[in-house]
């Protein structure tokens, strides 16, 4: 329907144009006749329209009315676009927030990073620490993490423990005890999943 109206408006606009500048249509028709048969056909079609409504007093009024309708439609489209963009932005944010908290991954990332840092802060070089990480592995599995080895990572340079339980992000926490972490192992099904690591003297001294 819209296409038909647009086509009509387009043709009528041309007719109005031709009415105003009859010399141009003459020139144009000449050129078209010389160069292209198909174009010639179209030109004749337009001429037919021109003949049909050239005497009509309502032609201009009709065109202006249709054009005005078109303007209103464009405005409505613009308003709707704003609403849709706002809604998309909002619901994407909500979805991101809810997915982040799905299965409590955000909370457990916080929990494990802080509790592991507490264990490290209380430890002395030579200690072996073994922790139950069953819940963490369950959440990581639900969040389709590719490998369990990604869950816990230690940065000995910055004294930082990072826990990753969902795709694309991890939570990190620093421990003040100036020790190194080695021999990090995630043992599965013994009978539960456990994380073990050894506390060692730190190799380099920070300023």
């Amino acid at each position: 329907m819209v296409l038909v109206v647009e086509e009509a408006v387009f043709k009528m606009s041309r007719i109005v144009f031709f009415r105003k500048f009859p010399n141009l249509i003459h020139e144009k028709e000449k050129t078209i006749l010389e160069h292209n048969k198909n174009q010639r056909f179209l030109c004749h079609q337009n001429m037919k329209y021109f003949e049909v409504i050239k005497n009509s007093e309502h032609a201009l009024e009709f065109i202006s009315r249709v054009l005005d309708m078109n303007k209103k439609a464009s405005q409505t489209l613009w308003e709707n676009t704003i609403y849709i963009v706002l809604a998309v932005v909002f619901f994407s944010t909500v979805l991101y927030f809810v997915l982040n908290n799905q299965f409590g991954s955000s909370f457990y990332e916080n929990y494990y990073s802080k509790e592991i840092s507490r264990a490290i802060n209380l430890a002395k070089p030579g200690d072996n620490i073994t922790l139950d990480v069953q819940k963490a592995t369950e959440i990581a599995q639900k969040n389709k993490l590719q490998s369990f080895s990604e869950i816990f990572s230690f940065d000995n340079t910055n004294n930082e423990i990072c826990v990753k339980l969902s795709l694309g992000r991890k939570k990190c926490y620093s421990y003040f005890n100036n020790v190194g972490i080695t021999n990090l192992q995630l043992k599965l099904a013994e009978p539960i999943n456990i994380l073990s690591f050894t506390i060692t003297e730190k190799q380099e001294q920070l300023n």
Binding site: V94, N101, K114, E150, S174, F176, Q205
Partner: protein, 159 residues
């Protein structure tokens, strides 16, 4: 006719504020609902401050740290007490007062005693622990007031 139409258009445009308000209400509801359900807040700052305080106290008890030289004391806190100075500077706080002095003898990290005292008033202030220890140096008893604080929260990183 045209003026009326314009008024109607203005009214129509103003509806966007109602829409934003609606989104705000929905968003706030979802945020608080999710936060309450998963209770993501796990404040560990007080425990951190307590652990640091205990570590410092035991270090002062076990070692004869040099209280005469400030730079030397900072170095000894790093080497003998095995406390990472960078972590303390970035996220924690150590303030040591000697005897009944008002001015702190040693201060490492962000914040001060006042922010510690106001920890209940503002959630962004560090959570602190205060303790005292009496040490003998050159046959003289010195009272050390140790204030430790933590303002560390877990940091989210892309992985």
């Amino acid at each position: 006719m045209i003026t009326k139409n314009k008024k109607a258009q203005t009214g129509d445009m103003l509806m966007v504020f109602a829409f934003i308000f609606l989104l705000f209400i929905i968003g706030t509801g979802i945020y608080f609902g999710t936060s309450l359900f998963f209770s993501s807040n796990y404040d560990f700052r007080k425990i951190d401050a307590e652990l640091l305080n205990k570590k410092l106290l035991s270090c002062f008890k076990e070692n004869n740290l040099n209280l005469e030289n400030l730079e030397s004391l900072k170095g000894e806190i790093s080497t003998l007490c095995k406390i990472n100075p960078q972590v303390v500077k970035d996220y924690m706080l150590i303030i040591i007062f000697k005897d009944s002095s008002i001015e702190p003898f040693l201060k490492i990290g962000k914040g001060d005693e006042t922010s510690c005292l106001l920890e209940d008033k503002n959630i962004n202030f560090p959570k602190c622990i205060t303790s005292e220890i009496v040490k003998s140096y050159n046959n003289q008893k010195t009272t050390l007031k140790i204030i430790t604080g933590s303002n560390q929260n877990s940091r989210e990183k892309l992985a």
